[in-house]
Symmetry: C2
């Protein structure tokens, strides 16, 4: 469990890593910050978010809990190269947006005396870099713990405790399969739709006529192109199925329109209105 003297190492000081050290330091925990970018480390130092930090991964050796805020393939590579520095009995966690493959790959590599508990704080941002770190966003976001049958109750409890320390109020557990299916629909499909809507043709000449509907639908078309293709590939089965099903639903609507099936379109709208109401914030 997390005690008042538990030491954290956060590896990768981007938007999420930065927000983690911001929240943890505010709550009085000692943090070590590691990033290949010296400037990100300096930024964290200047803000008093870390007690120690640098570009050298051996700094991780003093940490009781290590959280990777790296992109998926970098995460696996980093563990391979640096787990020799991990303290015996350390707990490893992450923020990766897909879970089945990362859990399999990390557990295949990880030392026997270190436990990996997979987590996904759903508090991403379209901007890159520690300067956009803002732990205040955690309050309204979901923190999902994704345990496997191998995880100890202690590790799951620690992940829960970490989420609370970070300021998350919505904390839940899913299996890796449930998580990846949910993410494929709610997050990945929506990003593909927004990106495709901007790309279908150059409609930037329409900017003067654009209202909130179009802006809302395309906000997430501003997207981190270094991270998302990798996340998509690691959830390919789910995402391709979601794109296919959504595309078929679109074409069903088109066919109702082509056939002047007013009643059919009405039914679709009544159903979408009813369902969407359940997603209104209370």
């Amino acid at each position: 469990m997390i005690e008042s003297d538990t030491v954290f190492a956060i590896v990768g000081l981007g938007v999420l890593g930065g927000s983690y050290i911001q929240a943890l330091s505010k709550m009085g925990y000692k943090c070590i910050g590691i990033d290949i970018d010296e400037e990100a480390v300096q930024y964290a130092m200047k803000n008093h978010w870390i007690a120690a930090g640098g570009t050298d991964s051996s700094l991780v050796q003093k940490a009781d809990i290590i959280v990777s805020c790296l992109y998926p393939h970098v995460f696996v590579q980093w563990v391979k190269e640096n787990q020799k520095y991990f303290k015996a009995g350390a707990l490893l966690s992450d923020v990766t947006g897909i879970k089945r493959e990362i859990i399999r790959d990390i557990n295949a590599e990880l030392r026997e005396d270190v436990e990996f508990i997979a987590c996904h704080p759903m508090a991403g941002k379209e901007f890159k870099g520690i300067q956009y770190a803002d732990a205040a966003r955690f309050a309204n976001a979901n923190f999902i713990i994704v345990p496997t049958a191998e995880n100890t109750p202690e590790a799951i409890a620690s992940a829960h405790q970490l989420a609370e320390i970070l300021g998350f109020t919505k904390i839940s557990q899913l299996t890796a399969a449930e998580h990846d299916r949910m993410i494929g629909f709610l997050s990945q499909l929506t990003h593909v739709i927004a990106v495709s809507l901007m790309n279908v043709s150059d409609n930037t000449h329409l900017v003067d006529y654009t209202g909130d509907s179009f802006r809302d639908l395309t906000r997430i078309a501003k997207i981190n192109e270094d991270m998302w293709p990798e996340l998509f590939e690691l959830n390919k089965d789910n995402l391709i199925r979601e794109i296919n099903e959504f595309s078929q639903e679109l074409l069903r609507f088109r066919d109702l329109l082509a056939e002047n099936d007013t009643e059919g379109m009405k039914e679709k709208m009544i159903q979408s209105t009813e369902r969407r109401k359940k997603f209104d914030k209370s």
Copy 2:
């Protein structure tokens, strides 16, 4: 032109009609309100938005400017039945969301001594009814005047003046073809996407995991099912083309993913990010 003693008749007291009389009365103009629903008229009376009103369309006879805030087919039918009451030289306008067919149909019916100037205030709302009237929304919305070769410069100038009185600051002119093409993409396609995303399967069990992205993309899936199918049918050529092109773009993205074409997906994301930046509000 609109003078201080110009009398307006607003026909159809829903969200838009209600907002029109609210804004016009606030600016000191005399308004007559007509609706088949006596309660909507009473609501307008109680708020001092109209000087006279009722369910009887002959009330329109004292108006210099008549604005239909009716659904398209009701608008055409109403003009057929009630233009005998129109004052000679009256100006007729509207708020219809599609333009080619409505302009053709109204002009085919309209008396020679009355001029129709088509307008589209892009300030709709997902809710129905005068109780949602709120002219404050006009300030940030687009008012589009859609003149034909038959319109007089005076009528176009009056429409411009009306938009200013209502509080619109973004006022522009388009041809009916330009208007319907723009609306097919920016407004109609986006509504079809939102409706289809809610309908693709019952994902309401995911509400606990839903973040802003999904909520933003589906906000307009709450939709007035009495109005939109009709608007879609009146712009069928444009909307079907937009659905087809968008669907093809979606499937191109799916194919890049299926082929693990990381670079191809990156390029799509760089393009969507660049284009979307142009739509950021300044």
